[in-house]
Amino acid sequence: MRFNMLRAQGGPLLLAIVGILTISLAMKGKLIYYIHPRYVVFTIILAIVAVIISVFTLFYRQATPRSTYNAWQIISGMVICVYLVVVVSLPPATLSYKLAVQRGAQEQGGVSASAATPIRVGRNTEKYRLEDWVSVLSQSVDSRQFEGKKAIVSGFIVPHPDNENAFFISRFVMTCCAVDARPLSIEVNLEKWRDQFVANQWVEVSGSVQPRKDALYGANIQASNVIAIDTPEDPYAY
């Protein structure tokens, strides 16, 4: 009887847990690891409403317990409990390089232009972010116009499948939430990079743009300086 009453309150409990989790992530500044920044305010407001409604329902409603429950309901309840415990116990995380590889971060041609973004800056290439370079290089007919231009970009490392002295510097671009994120990448030439860095590590690369010799389009960055950085507060491109 008591289990039935607790189970009958599963909906408000779930709402409360997700609401508190949302507010907690927002307070830590990690909500944008999961959803696009333009939905943050709306999400937080509704999370607060969810918690209020749930608490009210939990403490002031006399639940009508169901008389029976089956094995499937017990199993599904346990699965949800385990999932939620794991989710709230582990720290927030961005998507990894493994998923980036699975989604095509190691495209041939040196530039992964699965989501070309409009250029937001002018002629000063040092201010171009990774997504700006991907956009520029994917839309350019002749990448030789950028030969020698200085590039300073940050992203996480995705190993090159064929070249030990190169890697792809990547970021995910998000439209709505992390589930639709796609990787943007540029190939970086750096000899023996594995002596200093590891896959999935966030780095800032300074170097000059070099057109690819084996293709008409696309370019690499010849790295002159690469430093490790912490995961930025805004790890995605939009």
């Binding site: 408000p12 709402l15 907690s24 959803i35 998923l99 939430c177």
Partner: protein, 324 residues
């Protein structure tokens, strides 16, 4: 109305434990495999994006049910069946309830005098043609208005076709038990209204959140476990992609208010037609809806409904794939 002390204590304890876990992240130093980390990030993103719309749906549905008179909707009802069904198709705009909540609403409409075929039209169209579903679809597919428009038009057309089909049937499509059963869906007077409101919230939130959590987990799992080549091969096939997404819609049983965020996970690997078919079929027919509709409609009626919706959704998907 106060809760049993033991349940209150359990809930309080859960709340404290939750806050403890969130604040301290006790497993922060644990080395988690990338596949697990990505699964959690992906599934949680769907859950966090969709839950606000669940809450919005709950609030709106409660307001409509308990504070707005149904005379407002019925006073404009046309007499001719074709126009009446088309009007009924748009009632979801004023009754933005999850499809599960539409079943008791449809039962109440039949009691008030709706023909069963008209109630079927309402049941099939209301989950799609309502402001929350349209908004979430537009948000999820902000770069592709074709999907939003195709979803709304297909939902409207399919609901009317199936309503017209059942209107022609001589045999009753209602179960005998429901025909004998008289249920009044009146909003109670002020005394006791709060109890009913909280009861509705309790029931609706359970119906929506449980499939949503499972749907989020499935979205995350398919993204990390299924190789990209399989997804792109299946998803890129003009016909197979549509069939696969219709089956997925049936199994995952996610609410129409938020299924667009689930479908978004497949937007880069499946054809637009497959996504539209998912977004049209899922709100009308899934495991959860069939079990709820069984309280009202005969088995034969449900089988016919499922087949018709499936065929028409498939045709919709193919039209989108070839035409756009």
């Amino acid at each position: 109305m106060l809760r049993a002390p033991l349940v209150k204590l359990i809930c309080l304890s859960l709340g404290v434990a939750l806050i403890f876990f969130i604040t301290l992240s006790p497993l922060a130093k644990l080395s988690v495999p990338y596949i697990v980390q990505d699964f959690l990030t992906l599934s949680l993103s769907v859950l966090l994006e969709a839950t606000p719309f669940v809450v919005l749906g709950l609030v709106l549905a409660t307001c409509v049910k308990y504070f707005i008179s149904d005379r407002i909707f019925f006073s404009l009802m046309p007499k001719k069946p074709l126009w009446r069904r088309m009007y009924i198709s748009t009632l979801g705009v004023f009754l933005p309830v999850c499809e599960c909540g539409n079943v008791p609403l449809a039962r109440g409409l039949i009691i008030k005098g709706f023909k069963p075929a008209d109630a079927v039209t309402f049941l099939l169209s209301a989950p799609i043609i309502n402001p929350i579903t349209i908004t979430t679809t537009a948000i999820a597919f902000s770069g592709d208005s074709t999907i939003v428009i195709a979803r709304v038009i297909a939902g409207f057309v399919i609901a009317n076709i199936i309503g017209a089909y059942f209107a022609k049937k001589k045999l009753s499509i209602l179960t005998r038990s429901f025909q004998n059963y008289c249920e009044h869906e009146h909003a109670p007077r002020s005394k006791g209204r709060l109890r009913h409101i909280l009861g509705d919230i309790q029931e609706e939130s359970r119906r929506m959140m449980v499939p949503l959590v499972f749907g989020s987990m499935i979205a995350g799992l398919t993204q990390v476990l299924i190789p990209r080549e399989v997804l792109t091969t299946l998803g890129g096939h003009v016909a197979l992609s549509v069939v696969a997404m219709i089956l997925l819609a049936f199994i995952v049983s996610i609410c129409a208010n938020v299924d667009a965020f689930f479908a978004l996970a497949y937007s880069t690997t499946f054809t637009p037609g497959a996504l539209v078919a998912f977004l049209v079929f899922g709100p009308m027919i899934d495991i959860k809806m069939l079990s709820l509709m069984r309280t009202t409609f005969t088995k034969r009626a449900l089988v016919e409904m499922t087949l018709l919706v499936g065929i028409l959704s498939y045709i919709t998907g193919m039209v989108v794939n070839y035409a756009f």
